[in-house]
């Protein structure tokens, strides 16, 4: 197992999930895997905290769930982005880049 992992910044989990789902509907496990793989295991999300986050986002209407089949044929919930979620993703991405640019300006100074 990788030893070098960054803890997740508060609030970024939602953004990561939304971004992940923007690429297509997925179940919870796949979302966790995809985030890990896409960041080369640099970001490992707390799997435990992923589900409450998913439920919260569903409550807010950003994502919707439907029963589907997993790769091994289990019944599993598949999440997809709603139009509301898409709008939320745009807003959060903009906010994120604004934030990182600002932080980079300070951190990047000699």
């Amino acid at each position: 197992m990788p030893t070098q992992r960054s803890p997740l910044l508060q609030g970024t989990l939602d953004l990561l999930v939304l971004k992940t789902l923007a690429r297509g509907p997925r179940h919870g496990y796949a979302i966790a895997r995809w985030i890990e793989e896409a960041t080369d295991d640099a970001l490992r999300i707390e799997e435990g905290s992923l589900y409450p986050a998913l439920y919260r986002m569903e409550r807010r209407g950003w994502i919707a769930a439907a029963w589907g089949k997993s790769e091994i044929g289990q019944r599993i919930k598949i999440y997809s982005l709603t139009p509301q979620g898409r709008a939320q993703l745009r807003a959060e991405s903009a906010q994120w880049s604004h934030f990182t640019t600002a932080v980079a300006k300070i951190v990047g100074q000699p």
């Binding site: 966790a32 799997e47 409450p52 919707a64 769930a65 919930k77």
Partner: protein, 901 residues
């Protein structure tokens, strides 16, 4: 049809997640662990190792599960609420659309509800003002009025003598404060305004403290207020303060000339404090101002001179029983101390009674108001039935729509909710209009009951009333909607798509049966209201027929109070009145003029005990009791009270002449049956005092009102019994009102500063004495007519509907040669059966209702056969008329048209 406009993903979730949230979460988390396990196995771990590692990697699965569950539950509730809100919005919008499409139905339904809710709101606002709003006294719950009571069976409450008050004050144990109250009609002059007669109440200095009433400005009484040596002070009512002093706070410390004495204003009470707020025994009018007195100067007064009302405050936490025991103990003490007065044969039913001040003020009105409220409630129910029937009839035309929606999978509950929403919207619209009607109605009611109902002037549409009418509208809406909704939603599938079932001959279908049952209930309720109105109407007529013993025709009355300092001697007082009478006789249009106090049916009263010369007056002998009055010569002639024998008072009854008295026929019969009463002797001052010699006998007069005969009466000559307040009575040759101007001028010419009070035709006093009965009878009469109209409209509507539903069947019968008369009779018979059933139930209800109001009846029994039969017959005739129209129409059905339909 209602489009389902919930967001798509929400609807999908409902459709595709038919599992419980617990299952959903458990399945999802298990799938996750399973997938992770597979992956580890694929990486080369053993099954057991892999599963353990997957679990460990996931973390605290129970905590996650719980957290997810919370969020999911919260989401479910939110979704349900949102869905309900959404549906309600849609239902309301849909309702408004459909109501707009059927304006006739909407208008009739809304108008019916508006009338009923309006009437109920108006009556409720009176109930609220008179009965529900609490008295403006902090200790009201503990304050009681204490009276002498001479009869165990009837509430014959008599005032308290001042020495009795002092005894109560020192002997009551379970009461922590006692105060006495007297009236003193007074002229208020010397403050720059016109002279005005004000109603002054003389009270013990602790009076306001006892009640728990605080002043709006200044102070109430305390310290040595009211003591003979103290500064003379008064407290003003808010009304007088506004009227005379323009609400100027600088009034505190000002002096006013009240009945010849200069008094300093020390406080003003808040607007709602007018003690007595409603008639309390002989205290008839609300106070304009209060004067403190210790009553010390009357401590040694005669115990027979019962001139005061007594209020007492129970100590905290004293039960009814203990308060009563306290009074009984004092009464027992008095029986020992004054056996002749309280332990004689005549006084064997005597006791001291305490009546909570609230009951005392409102007791008499409570029952009539409750009756009126119940009657108006029936009107509402009858109106509800009409609207429900309208909705039923209308629903029948919508069966297809409902059936389609049921078939498309709308739940029955959902349909019911929508139908009830419809009726609630209707009722709310009706309620708003009804509120406007109530606002108008309240003004009429206040006019009608202004003199008779205490505190009715305070009636207004306040928050409580608004809440009442809102609740009433919603309840009405639900009542009106629920029965049709239940019925239609169940009928829908069976009949709706099937277009129409053919009615079978003579037998009502389910829907019709419901309609007919509702109409029968309507007839029953209308009968109850009509019988109530009939009984109260007959009560009123019976009271009008009572011969009161005097004639008020063309008589004008007014009250004068002639006091110090201008009239500081007996001579001046007597002289003033004699001059006035002499002057009055010469006025054009005046037939007779005289004066006396108190006038019959004026609300004023004066009674006391007396002893008869020659009758034993030992400690155990009876102390007879009578109504007193003082009169000037000509009083009996002016009021047409017959002089049965002897003479009227005249100029010979001077101060120095032998004391004279005139008794009424009852008193004469009681003491000297078969003898000539003239020359007999009695007095009211106790044994040993000079006797009064009977000089005449007159007819008995109903003094308090036509309801009760009252006690025996005795009259004293004014010249020998001086007092400052007298009522002038003048009989005109023409109408009483024509005398107002000449008499006023005559009084002004004698004394321009003298205020004239209670200037009104004597006939107003007589009708005023029956005002409450008139109020009851009028209101119930209005409600009865409304009920009758509503019920007949209801019956007509249902019969017409039943006929229209049977058009096909009737057409077939006609085509097969059915006799029109038989068909007509068939319809008519249905109407009669329904009405008779309603009448039968109504009769039973009426009997129970009449028993409940028997206390309000006079001259008519609760089970008054003519009233019941008459009203039953009236209702039956109305029912026949209402069914006859539809029955006739039935025979006009064109068989061909009916069959083609």
């Amino acid at each position: 049809m209602i489009p389902d406009r919930l967001p798509l993903h929400r609807r999908l979730r409902r459709a595709f997640f038919p599992v419980s949230p617990e299952r959903e979460i458990a399945d999802e988390l298990r799938a996750h662990i399973e997938l992770q396990t597979r992956r580890y196995v694929a990486e080369g771990m053993s099954e057991t190792e892999a599963r353990a590692a997957a679990r460990e990697r996931f973390g605290d699965i129970e905590r996650v599960r719980a957290e997810c569950k919370d969020i999911r539950d919260d989401m479910e509730t939110k979704m349900e609420r949102a869905e309900l809100r959404q549906e309600l919005r849609l239902d309301v919008a849909f309702t408004l659309r459909t109501l707009r499409r059927s304006p006739l139905f909407t208008t009739v339904a809304v108008a019916t509800i508006a009338l009923a809710v309006g009437a109920n709101t108006a009556i409720f606002s009176v109930v609220n003002a008179v009965l529900l709003r609490s008295l403006p006294y902090r200790h009201a719950d503990r304050v009681e009025m204490i009276w002498n009571n001479y009869s165990r069976t009837t509430a014959a409450h008599t005032a308290i003598a001042i020495p009795e008050y002092f005894d109560l004050k020192s002997q009551l144990r379970a009461h922590d404060m006692v105060a006495a109250i007297r009236t003193q009609p007074s002229a208020l002059v010397g403050d720059g305004g016109e002279p005005e007669r004000v109603n002054a109440i003389v009270v013990s200095p602790n009076f306001f403290e006892l009640l728990g009433a605080s002043p709006a400005i200044g102070r109430t009484f305390g310290g040595d207020d009211g003591a003979p040596s103290a500064t003379r002070v008064i407290v003003l009512s808010h009304a007088l303060w506004m009227r005379r002093f323009g609400g100027d706070p600088a009034v505190i410390g000002k002096t006013v000339n009240l009945a010849g004495l200069v008094r300093t204003v020390v406080g003003v009470m808040p607007p709602d404090v007018r003690f007595p707020d409603a008639p309390l025994g002989f205290l008839r009018e609300r106070a304009d101002l209060w004067i403190p007195t210790t009553f010390e100067n009357l401590r040694a007064d005669a115990r027979g001179n019962q001139i005061a009302a007594v209020v007492a405050r129970r100590s905290p936490n004293v039960s009814d029983a203990r308060a009563k025991a306290d009074l009984d103990a004092v009464a027992a003490q008095w029986r020992v101390d004054y056996p002749r007065r309280y332990a004689s044969e005549n006084a064997k039913e005597w006791s001291l009674v305490g009546v909570p001040v609230r009951d005392e003020m409102l007791g008499a009105v409570r029952r009539s108001i409750v009756v009126i409220a119940v009657a108006v409630g029936f009107v509402l129910l009858i109106a509800c039935v009409n609207v429900a029937n309208l909705m039923l009839a209308r629903g029948a035309t919508r069966q297809k729509e409902l059936a389609i929606r049921l078939a498309l999978g709308a739940g029955r509950a959902r349909l019911i909710r929508q139908l009830v929403t419809e009726s609630v919207v209707l009722a709310l619209v009706g309620g708003v209009i009804g509120l406007l009607l109530a606002w108008l109605g309240v003004r009429v009611l206040v006019q009608l009951g202004a003199n008779e109902l205490p505190r009715i002037a305070d009636t207004s549409i306040d928050a409580t009333v608004l809440l009442f009418s809102l609740t009433l509208s919603i309840v009405t809406g639900i009542l009106v909607g629920i029965v049709p909704a239940l019925q239609q939603s169940s009928d829908g599938t069976r009949e709706g798509l099937n277009i129409r079932a053919v009615g079978t001959a003579g037998r009502a279908r389910g829907g019709d049966r419901l309609r007919l049952a509702l109409v029968a209930a309507q007839v029953a309720m209308a009968l109850v209201v009509l019988v109530g109105a009939g009984l109260l109407g007959r009560t009123f007529l019976a009271l009008e027929r009572v011969r009161p013993g005097f004639s008020a025709h063309n008589v004008l009355s007014m009250q004068l109070t002639v006091g110090r300092p201008k009239y500081d001697s007996t001579y001046k007082l007597v002289n003033f009145y004699q001059q006035l009478i002499a002057k009055g006789r010469t006025l054009p249009g005046v037939a007779q003029v005289s004066a006396g106090y108190p006038l019959p049916m004026s609300g004023d009263g004066w009674s006391g005990s007396y002893v008869v010369n020659g009758e034993p007056s030992g400690p155990n002998d009876p102390v007879p009791h009578a109504e007193y009055a003082v009169t000037l010569p000509g009083f009996f002639q002016t009021l047409r009270i017959p002089l049965l024998s002897g003479r009227d008072f005249d100029a010979t009854d001077t101060r120095d002449a032998p004391l004279a008295v005139i008794v009424d026929e009852l008193l004469a019969k009681q003491h000297w049956p078969g003898q000539n009463p003239i020359g007999k002797e009695l007095n009211g001052d106790g044994p040993g005092a000079p006797w009064w010699r009977v000089v005449g006998v007159v007819g008995h007069v109903y003094r308090a009102g036509p309801q009760s005969e009252g006690e025996p009466q005795l009259y004293l000559p004014y010249t020998q019994n001086i007092q400052t307040t007298l009522s002038i009575v003048a009989r005109g040759k023409g109408s009483a009102t024509a005398l107002v101007q000449p008499l006023r001028t005559a009084i002004r010419s004698l004394d321009p500063d003298l205020p004239i009070a209670r200037l009104r035709p004597m006939s107003d006093l007589v009708s005023g004495a029956m005002a409450r009965q008139r109020f009851n009878a009028t209101l119930l009469g209005i409600f009865a007519v409304t009920s009758l109209l509503l019920a007949s409209v209801g019956l007509y509507g249902v019969m017409a509907y039943v006929v229209s539903q049977r058009t096909r069947e009737i057409g077939i019968r006609m085509a097969l040669g059915g006799q029109p008369s038989a068909i007509r009779w068939g319809v008519l018979r249905q109407g009669i059966v329904v009405s008779v059933a309603g009448l039968a139930i109504g009769m039973l209800l009426s009997l129970a209702a009449a028993k409940a109001i028997s206390g309000l009846l006079f001259g008519v029994k609760a089970v008054d056969l003519p009233t019941y039969l008459g009203i039953g017959a009236l209702l039956l005739v109305v029912a026949l008329l209402a069914s006859y129209g539809p029955a006739r129409r039935a025979t006009r059905v064109d068989p061909l048209l009916a069959l083609r339909d």
